[in-house]
């Protein structure tokens, strides 16, 4: 962590050399407590990458435990001390690793790292705004996130270790310090960290929504926004509406833990003798509150990745995104439906079975917009002219994972089938493909694609290829076999498969999976090297290296406060005019008025513009008569 954050500062320092100084800015106001959206985006990205690397190392630790449950690794004791006595992970610490891996990946990497980076970078640049609606709040959003990250990681330093009740922290396990060591101080830190995180996320979200709604440039109506902006906007709406519910849940849990209330606790006897004074609470209540956020959360994670991939696939297949309107409506559909499907996480928790039936119906409905998106992506590639940039490969990987992981969602969303699949490795495989791998691939695609915008330099494409193939193949090798473990009824969050005769057959598969995971993890050095090396020594970027249409590529390569020198450019067309017949080049930027592209205009371009249509028809008829004269 420390080395990477040092990088963070040195990045900032080097950028200093060619910054424009409109008004006197100190190092601190420009690089640490910066209010510039581009700098904040970089801060989010580098913190996010740091957290991702940490969470990945945690996952390798518990993968080693799963592959070699009987083997001692003295090095682990050297590194982890009391958490790995005699070189074997402590079973409570194993659960802590799983918990913190999940928490960091879901919240700190794929929510803050993904939305935080790309919403901050792209919203002002793609809608044509000088900065966020409230730059100060934006700055606070980052620093709350940073503080939350530090607190979350600090829980590794305390005596009893970090929170270990799973990332879903179901009470009573998480509510009673006597139930497991991680439910003591570690859980308190987890809760504090999450409250700060939610504050950060809300401040960010409010900013994104207000910027998109109020600060679009001239001509940028909602239907001219790139899909990235639609995705970030709807993601922010989701976050604003669902995160407060988690706060409510968390605050009640804090009350139960510290002030003797019993919102979630009832009829509890610890260790077979210690009767606890709680009565009348319901653990199910917490699950409702948690999943009311928790389910929208998975869409908070995947929707930005969808938006980013849509944009990148359109640019690199030199083709408009197929069914732009359908893509937007399916995003809206997913947003709305995601609020009424949370119960599918609770089919077998003892929730009223009738409710289970209802949630099953809503859950399977959400598969329809998801299917539409998938088919539209395929149609976008069809008869394209596909340029394989590293970003494009990751966007494609995202689609592949989304299909593979989405399909198994149809099994899990079915309440009846969920009886036997709930909480098994089938679930682990499902969500690691559909939201874990898919979302991280969306994020990596975004990093490769917008790196020139962020740092003014290009990343090495060939190292990107290497990174892609190793990670892509690695992820499939890791998660594909897990489906079958789930179908064999192997539960998740098991410290070792050695206690049950029936599970021992999977030990060899676990070894295979662990080595695939180690390979994929090692492959990330190709990315980290490429990323940090290119920040300083990468090839200098041109203004529009990918020949893309969106507004951010009309801004100068050098970062200036306010994004554009002079006036903000006005927008005249949608962002997907790639390979338009009749046009000279295979892309027409959004800032090019229709009057300059008479030869490529289509009647469709004038749908809400009768005068324009008249002019177009007139032009077409004169062209025709001219030809006749010839």
């Amino acid at each position: 962590m420390s080395t990477l954050s040092v990088h963070d500062h040195s990045v900032a320092h080097h950028e200093d050399d060619h910054g424009h100084h409109h008004h006197k800015e100190t190092f601190i106001s420009k690089y640490i407590f910066s209010m510039d959206h581009k700098m904040i985006a970089k801060q989010f990205l580098i913190t996010g990458i740091t957290m991702a690397v940490i969470a990945m190392i945690l996952s390798i630790l518990f993968r080693i435990q799963l592959a070699y449950p009987d083997k001692a690794f003295p090095l682990l004791e050297t590194l982890l001390g009391r958490f790995a006595p005699a070189g074997r992970l402590d079973s409570n610490f194993y659960l802590a690793l799983v918990t913190i891996h999940g928490t960091i990946m879901v919240f700190f990497v794929l929510t803050a790292g993904l939305s935080g980076t790309f919403s901050n970078l792209l919203i002002p640049l793609q809608v044509g705004a000088r900065d966020m609606a409230s730059p100060f709040m934006n700055m606070l959003s980052y620093w709350f996130f940073f503080l939350a990250s530090v607190i979350m990681l600090s829980s590794f330093m305390i005596q009893k270790g970090p929170a270990s009740g799973g990332w879903t922290i179901y009470p009573p396990l998480s509510a009673m310090p006597k139930a497991m060591p991680g439910s003591g101080m570690g859980m308190t830190l987890w809760l504090i960290s999450m409250v700060l995180f939610i504050a950060s996320s809300l401040m960010g979200g409010i900013n994104y929504v207000s910027t998109v709604l109020n600060m679009r440039t001239k001509g940028m109506d909602l239907w001219k926004m790139p899909l990235t902006i639609w995705a970030f906007f709807l993601t922010a709406v989701l976050g604003i509406l669902s995160f407060p519910v988690l706060v409510a849940g968390v605050v009640l849990l804090i009350f139960d833990r510290s002030f003797g209330t019993s919102f979630y606790l009832s009829e509890i006897v610890l260790n077979g003798t210690q009767v606890q004074p709680f009565e009348g609470g319901s653990p199910i209540l917490f699950q409702h509150l948690f999943w009311f956020l928790g389910h929208p959360e998975v869409y908070i994670v995947i929707m930005p990745a969808m938006g980013i991939s849509s944009e990148i696939m359109s640019v690199n297949s030199r083709k408009p995104i197929f069914g732009y309107h359908a893509m937007v409506y399916s995003l809206i559909g997913i947003t709305v439906l995601s609020f009424i499907v949370w119960g599918h996480h609770m089919f077998v928790t003892g929730m009223n079975p009738f409710l289970g039936g209802v949630f099953m119906i809503t859950t399977l409905t959400i598969a329809v917009p998801s299917a539409v998106k998938t088919f539209n992506w395929l149609a976008t590639l069809w008869r394209g002219n596909i340029r394989f940039t590293a970003a494009m490969l990751f966007a494609i990987g995202m689609v592949s994972f989304f299909i593979s992981g989405g399909i198994t969602g149809i099994f899990l969303g079915n309440a009846a089938l969920d009886i036997n699949l709930h909480d098994t490795y089938f679930v682990v495989a499902h969500f690691h493909l559909v939201m874990g791998s898919a979302a991280i691939f969306g994020m990596l695609a975004g990093v490769y694609h917008w790196f020139p915008k962020m740092f003014g330099r290009m990343m090495n494409e060939r190292l990107g290829y290497l990174h892609f193939w190793l990670t892509f193949i690695g992820a499939y090798l890791v998660f594909f076999p897990m489906h079958f473990m789930g179908l064999d009824g192997v539960p998740r969050r098991y410290y070792a498969f050695t206690e049950f005769e029936s599970m021992k057959q999977w030990l060899s598969v676990n070894v295979f999976v662990t080595w695939a995971a180690i390979m994929a993890a090692v492959a990330q050095t190709a990315f980290l090297f490429n990323f940090f090396y290119s920040i300083f020594f990468g090839k200098k970027a041109t203004q529009n290296p990918w020949e893309a249409n969106t507004l951010e590529w009309t801004a100068p390569v050098e970062h200036i406060h306010g994004n554009w020198p002079g006036d903000i450019p006005a927008v005249y067309r949608w962002p997907y005019d790639y390979s338009k017949p009749g046009a000279d080049e295979d892309f027409i930027q959004q800032t090019v008025p229709l009057s300059q592209t008479m030869s490529s205009n289509l009647p469709h371009d004038f749908e809400d513009n009768p005068t324009g249509l008249e002019a177009h028809n007139k032009w077409v008829s004169t062209q025709k008569s001219n030809e006749e004269v010839k």
Binding site: L95, G166, M180, P320, N376, N414, L417, R493, F500
Partner: protein, 402 residues
């Protein structure tokens, strides 16, 4: 170009060399230390040397990757000098996509056959049969979609890889086809939803219908980290419980003011008769657990303060299942499937499905919860009197009053 700078930079290379030297030095130092320790103590290897070896291997691999990168760069430059096209990476990646598709399809086939043969056998319970049918139907519908979409994705990538002479086909939308692929999944999902909804309702309906023979009632209570069982006695009813009565001798908190609890039986193994409906009453004492019996397709959480139920009918005895799987040591097992603490991975209970006669014989041997010790404690008339019983009771009463 990144590689060019890197490998032209002598500084970085020499730095690398220094690191390697320092690393080996440290390893040797470690070795020496270990040797020193060995003299006094048992030989101790903390694996640092092995880790160092792997790190060195990794650096070597990085070095080779760097060299390969350099070779590509040199190739590109020479091509440029000779006035030819540099390496066409779009073609290379297009071919990679095709190769990945072929290898991936083979991998999927391999995984389906190899790992697929390791999954659970068909259900050993009545409702499990319906679930299996539904599972295979869903698989039958979704797997072709999975295969076809992946084939389309990767063949499109190969087929439409970049070609400077070609232009992409401008196709912003096509309402007909979009309607088709909205409605088609909607119809398929509706079928699955209806099928699933009614199956779910029938499975979760844990009340015995009128005219149906009553289910065997079994209480299963989870606590960190074991399951406790309670069978009904001769009266066929389970007595009341109250969590405040739980203590060392009354581990389930049976309320002995309820006469129905007198003959409740305790058991170590869950023995159930084949082809008889069993209703599991699921309780938890401390945190959330989950009763999971994969072979019966049974799972429901055990929630403190909220009793839950699951009704199922086993159709294969343990002996039949052993024969079917050809595993003479096979046992049905209850696992805990909700994270519940450090020993979550080891919360096992054996389930044995037997014939009705065997079941009755087994049941007759089980001991009631109302042990002699408890009887003494609770001043039952037929409690065996011992010399110091009065004294003990006094002490206990005091403790209870506290």
């Amino acid at each position: 170009m990144g590689f060019k700078n890197l490998f032209n930079s002598k500084k970085i290379l020499s730095l690398l060399a220094v690191f390697m030297l320092a690393g080996t030095n440290m390893l040797f130092a470690q070795g020496a230390e270990a040797a020193g320790a060995a003299a006094t103590d048992a030989p101790k290897d903390n694996g640092l040397a092995t880790a160092g070896y792997y790190i060195l291997m990794f650096l070597v691999v990085c070095f080779f990757i760097g060299i390969i990168g350099k070779v590509f760069r040199v190739y590109d430059l020479t091509q440029q000098i000779r006035g030819k096209q540099p390496m066409n990476w779009n073609n290379v990646m297009g071919v990679f996509c095709l190769l990945f598709l072929i290898a991936g399809l083979f991998g999927v086939y391999w995984s389906f056959t190899t790992h697929g043969s390791m999954i659970l056998p068909s259900a050993a319970s009545e409702h499990g049969g319906t679930l299996d049918t539904m599972f295979w139907t869903t698989t039958g519908i979704t797997m072709p979609v999975f295969i076809i979409t992946q084939i389309l994705l990767f063949t499109f990538l190969f087929r439409y890889r970049y070609n400077a002479k070609r232009r992409a086909h401008f196709l912003p939308h096509n309402n007909t086809i979009e309607k088709v692929w909205t409605i088609a999944p909607a119809i398929v999902l509706t079928v699955l939803v209806i099928f699933g909804f009614f199956t779910w309702q029938s499975i979760m309906n844990s009340v015995d219908a009128k005219g149906q023979p009553a289910s065997i009632n079994i209480d299963i209570t989870g606590h960190q980290f074991a399951w406790e069982l309670r069978y009904t006695g001769k009266d066929g009813r389970l007595g009341r419980t109250n969590y405040t009565l739980v203590n060392g001798t009354n581990k389930l908190g049976l309320d002995f003011t309820d006469k129905a609890s007198f003959d409740d039986l305790q058991a170590d193994t869950m023995v159930i008769p084949v082809n008889k409906s069993v209703r599991l009453n699921i309780h938890s004492q401390d945190v959330i657990h989950s009763v999971y019996i994969p072979h019966f397709r049974v799972q429901l959480n055990a929630v403190p303060g909220l009793p839950t139920y699951f009704k199922f009918k086993p159709i294969l005895t343990t002996t039949q299942m052993r024969a079917k799987l050809d595993k003479p040591t096979f046992e049905y097992e209850i696992l805990c499937n909700k994270i519940c603490g450090g020993s979550h991975y080891n919360m096992k209970k054996i389930v044995r499905v037997v014939s009705e006669a065997e079941y009755q014989a087994w049941l007759a041997q089980q001991k009631p919860y109302l042990t002699d010790k408890l009887k003494q404690k609770l001043h039952f008339a037929d409690a065996p009197a011992t010399a110091d019983s009065t004294k003990k009771v006094q002490g206990n009463r005091l403790a209870l009053n506290n």
